[in-house]
């Protein structure tokens, strides 16, 4: 909680005690006065919150703070991995850092990954990391997955009206998501209408600061929690038979909205001082999901370093009790994947390449 809570609450008490019966007046003017009062207050509160670094606290903020603490104690170049649940279970920053350092590369790896995070939400927290740490990552690894590219409002399938859902749909994110929905990045007509409706509601809740002061905290004072979430036992209900069969990849591009977003994100990060951007996806048992990133690596992301897990050698190594469920690795699987990934990153030469 922040002092602004008490200032805002005091003003609320003053008004709640002061307002009595109004005299009759024009309905139009009354409605306009109400809307002006509401929107002006929303703008002022948002400005106050922004000036004090206050946001609705989510687990993502905790992960960002853990990463900030990690890099504050280390002057090595930073590599940020930013992904969804595949990465939360499948990218262990400590292992990767160690693997790189054993081979003579001083980089510090951090992970900004959380379940069901779209590229837009991850980008918000990547910027939050840069702001709070005061450091620009040397390399940024961005997870790509078909689910997120083809459903712009993926969050609504998981957690509607949660703190995290409301927090992420600020005006720029809503605009990008709306662009995606308009471009068909949603599931059928009914799904598109629902996503658009939820988007409108969440944007309104965000713009009107619902819960921002009451449930909000200063981002910097949120308790730090590392993003990596190692799993030791398979999920009880999951069946995970590894199919090494892969659908042949075709050269592919993501939908227009995500291509546009990736393009502006690349330009922004490079302008901020990031030396290189790479794309990746941790292994999954779904051959089509692996084929999707294969296609992107050969197509849209051709100019970037791109690490598809569709490597027969890697997948053969993961043919065993390495799976939490069909999409997520157990800790043992993560160890295999991270060793492979470190090797691939080094082999790509991107750690040494000059800008």
């Amino acid at each position: 909680m922040h002092w602004s809570f008490f200032a805002v609450a005091a003003l609320g008490l003053l008004l709640a005690h002061g307002l009595k019966l109004p005299r009759a007046g024009s309905r139009f003017i009354s409605a306009a006065a109400f809307i002006v009062g509401l929107l002006t207050t929303a703008f002022l509160i948002k400005s106050l919150a922004a000036a004090n670094g206050i946001g609705r606290t989510t687990d993502f903020d905790r992960f960002v703070n853990a990463a900030v603490i990690e890099v504050s104690q280390d002057y090595a170049p930073i590599i940020v991995f930013t992904g969804a649940s595949y990465s939360r279970n499948g990218v262990d920053p400590e292992r990767l850092t160690l693997a790189l350092r054993e081979r003579g590369y001083p980089h510090r790896v951090v992970s900004l990954s959380i379940e069901a995070a779209s590229i837009l939400e991850r980008d918000q927290h990547l910027q939050q990391f840069i702001e709070l740490s005061g450091k620009v990552p040397d390399l940024v690894f961005i997870e790509v997955a078909e689910d997120f590219d083809h459903r712009a409002a993926y969050m609504f399938g998981n957690a509607k009206f949660s703190m995290r859902a409301i927090e992420q749909f600020d005006l720029p994110t809503s605009a990008w998501t709306g662009f995606g929905i308009l471009g068909g990045a949603c599931q059928g007509l009914k799904g598109c209408v629902l996503d658009a409706g939820y988007l409108g509601l969440h944007t309104a809740l965000n713009v009107l600061n619902v819960g921002l002061i009451g449930s909000g905290e200063r981002s910097a004072s949120v308790k730090a929690v590392p993003a990596y979430d190692p799993q030791s036992e398979p999920r009880a209900t999951s069946e995970h038979t590894l199919s090494l069969k892969s659908t042949p990849a075709s050269i592919y591009q993501g939908p227009q909205w995500i291509r546009s977003f990736r393009y502006q994100q690349q330009n922004r990060l490079l302008a901020q001082g990031t030396r290189a951007i790479a794309y990746y996806q941790p292994p999954t048992l779904d051959p089509d999901a692996r084929a999707y990133i294969d296609g992107l690596c050969e197509g849209e992301l051709f100019a970037f370093d791109c690490f598809s897990p569709n490597d027969p050698q890697l997948m053969a190594q993961l043919n065993g009790d390495y799976w939490f469920d069909s999409s997520h690795l157990l800790d043992g699987g993560t160890a295999i994947y991270n060793a492979w990934l470190a090797q691939e990153i080094i082999a790509s030469g991107m750690l040494e390449r000059r800008q």
């Binding site: 909680m1 922040h2 002092w3 809570f5 008490f6 805002v8 609450a9 005091a10 003003l11 609320g12 008490l13 003053l14 008004l15 709640a16 005690h17 002061g18 307002l19 009595k20 019966l21 109004p22 005299r23 009759a24 007046g25 024009s26 003017i29 009354s30 409605a31 006065a33 109400f34 809307i35 002006v36 009062g37 509401l38 929107l39 002006t40 207050t41 929303a42 509160i45 609705r56 949660s162 703190m163 409301i166 009107l208 600061n209 619902v210 819960g211 921002l212 002061i213 009451g214 449930s215």
Partner: protein, 473 residues
Amino acid sequence: MIFTDIIFFAFLTVVFGAYWLLQGKEARLNLLLVASAVFYGWWDWRFLGLIGFVILISWLVARFAARRAPGEAFRRLALIAGISANLAVIATFKYFGFFADSAREMLSTIGLDPGWTALNILLPVGISFYVFQAISYIVDVARGDLSSEHRLRRVALYIAFFPQLVAGPIVRAASFFPQMESVKTLSSALVFAGLRAFALGFAYKAGIADNLAQFVDPVFGDAQVAGDTDLAAWSNLALVGATLAFGALIYFDFAGYSLMAIGVARWFGFYIPKNFDHPYASPAIDDFWRRWHISLSSWLRDYLYIPLGGNRLSAGKTYRNLMVTMVLGGLWHGAAWTFVAWGAMHGAALAFHRALYKGRAAVGFLYGLIATQVFVLLTWVPFRAESFADTLVIWSAFTGLRDGGSAEISAWVWLLVPLIALDAILGRGGLKALQASRILRHPVVYWSGLGVLSGIMLALYPLEASPFVYFQF
């Protein structure tokens, strides 16, 4: 369904619209009765049978008592039977486990193992409130202060009226029954009067109280989970701050609920008297009890303290009556010895105050205010703490004699003192000139002010709403 839930707003909108669209009085009252059943059944439909039983018994007993002449033995018998039946309901559902546990512990201290385990009975929400309303109805009829209502539906609506059903205020039949018969007209005055009470209550509850749990729960532990506190880790200042936060939380929570109940009732044309009158500005303990949970304290006065003899007997008996009333009042709040201790402390304070000042003004306002509020704050400790051991630890933190831990709560908690003071100043007519100003009634000023207030409430709205504290009572 609580008043700050989105689902309640949908429910309220539907019921409000239908109520004013209906023309006949009976149709409207029937709608309110159905709405009340839906509202109560939303928590657990099985308890509709229980409240139905309370309604039926109260109606039957009152009908029976009303047919007997005053002073007739059967009338007295009916009164005793009605009160006993209602008390049996509350004793079973609220106190059975408590008394069984207490008896078992007592027997085990003398080496006897009774071998029983207490049943874990689910506490029906609002039981303490509606049972007290039912008792007051029976007693009023049996005393001859109120004529018996022959229509069961009227009694049902009085006991189950949804705005005050689950956490009060405890409404008296004498004030509610005539309101059911009056002709009601939807007017802007009625809508704005309801809005005013509801908005202030919403500001108290959702704007302030729900956000204070973050100061209280980490220190005192979850009120619903036993044994989850670790007071040793907290500094003395943190324990005092958390107690202050709890004092603010329970006031803003309960006063907020009461105001919202008053506002909702107003929208249906019913008037419910206020339940709180800024008790944290009281300069004496008797004044505090005239302003805190007014509907309960006046109920205890009229149906317990005065029948016990009140202050009409000797000084000693007056003190005894105060103690009995407040101890039972403490027990009403919860089935635990800590609540009994809380009530006993307030009873002792009232007796002490009476013995010392005999109704005269005590000390100066400021000294009285500080002494009273420090006492009230200290007594919130057993009210909220999980055990007497925790209570002693927190009290020792107030003295500074305890070796505290290093964990702290946010220092902003101390801003609650000016916030409570501001609320009391405004509520007790401070800034009267401003409030009386005609400019505040100008439509543009009013509506833009309401817009600003809405913007503030949305920003303060807790995304994870807490149930009302008084539901558990």
